[in-house]
Amino acid sequence: MSDQADLLTQFSNALATRAESAKNAVVAIRLAHERHMTGMVWQSGIVVASEQSLPRKDDFELVGAGGAVLTARVAGRDPSTNIAILRLAEQLASPSITAGDARTGAVVLAIGADGTGGASARLGLVNVAGAEWHSSRGGLIDRRIVLDVRLARREEGGPVYDAAGSCLGMSTFGPRGQVIAIPTATLERVVPQLAKDGRIARGWLGVGLQAVAVPDALRDTADQSSGLMVMSVVENGPAAQAGIVAGDIILSVDGTPAHRFRKIARHFGADSIGRKAELRLIRSGAVMTVQATIAERHAA
């Protein structure tokens, strides 16, 4: 009996110790009305935050561990992966971050900033750990991590740790108040690019696309059952210059079938800018090939 009580005490003490030391991993980002959101200390001079909740302004006041007030400037934001970074005016001791792998059912500790220099803690589970996914803004998220954790608005943007103390990612809100984590792998991929360029460069054709079924009569010629129909064309954009018109159905990009956008998303990364893309498409009942020069997408 006493052994069990000890186990529970041990468990509780371990969590409390983790939460206590995690205060160095978070900062409070001050917002209006004496409110705040949480930022995750990434490197000594860089703080990561949830892009969707960070107000659109340049300068912020942060509260670091112990209550020190710091100033920081937004150094980059990427709505497609929901990652924003702020650069601190002064250096800050940064905890080392070990990337952890999310497993369904694993215990997690989500940390937030309490606004006065301390941490707030939430205990829960990894509700679902799944494959990579594409956000509605077109960004690639390395894993699907849904958390069974309650989170206050002010805690969004903090680190989520597993039992070993590895960081699974940054907490944020998904649709309908669902709490998810942007995986550490995604942060590791996006943060350095944001720190370097202030944005994530992406390829752009200047079209609005919707997935459609290829008409039965053309399935054999097209050799696939779905494609992306051009619903709109931006004037003077790369697609318009290549002669692409509304109603065209894009079947493939450089040989990769365009059943869905996510299938061809990789062809429009930062390295695609300036390259010629070969688009196979259906126009007026015939299959044809068009070349378009990919341009850079400007902030949405």
Partner: protein, 187 residues
């Protein structure tokens, strides 16, 4: 009106401070508030409710109704184009200590790209039929416009209903437009 009903609808006159940087907007909102039977007071005067165009003044301690503000923590949050009756209702509700939100306001969040299952994707022809349905055309008129038989039109309409999970033409148009709004990708 019965006595009970009139007791249920006391037209309380509230003191409302209107906060708007833009002068014409401030005047317009002041008019809306006054026409709803409230008293417009200065932003520094004693007020029951603050009506703010966008985010309210920082450090505001009185209950705020924001119109299109990004601030998620105020008791009242309406879109920028809220109508007069919504503004009046929100002011009264917030003054009574309630919280006002539009349905679906919490729906937003960082989510995945929506994709329709392959078997429910529409064909270009079905999209044309749908556009005609949206204009309120009859099957006969659609057949004429697309130069296809009436039988083929009926076939396409049935297929649209099945793929969109719709029972009426209006529902099919609405569901298709919602799908298009959610799933159109800009590249």
């Amino acid at each position: 009106m019965s006595e009970a009903a009139s007791q249920l609808a006391p037209k309380e006159r509230l003191r409302v401070a209107v906060h708007a940087v833009d002068l014409p907007r401030r005047v317009a909102l002041g008019r809306v508030v006054a026409e709803a039977g409230h008293l417009v007071v200065g932003t520094l005067d004693a007020a029951d409710v603050v009506l703010a165009d966008g985010d309210g003044p920082p450090g505001e301690t009185r209950p705020v109704v924001t119109l299109g503000g990004a601030d998620d923590d105020v008791p009242g949050a309406l879109p920028r184009d809220a109508d007069a009756s919504q503004i009046d209702a929100a002011i009264r509700a917030v003054a009574a200590g309630l919280v006002v939100r539009l349905p679906g306001a919490r729906e937003a969040g960082f989510g995945a790209m929506r994709e329709t299952d392959a078997h429910a994707l529409l064909t270009p022809r079905e999209l044309e039929v749908l556009a005609a349905l949206a204009e309120g055309m009859t099957n006969k008129a659609i057949a004429r416009r697309l130069d296809i038989s009436l039988h083929t039109v009926k076939f396409h309409v049935e297929s649209l209903f099945r793929k969109l999970g719709a029972r009426t033409r209006t529902e099919a148009v609405a569901k298709a437009s919602e799908r298009r709004r959610r799933e159109t990708i800009s590249l």
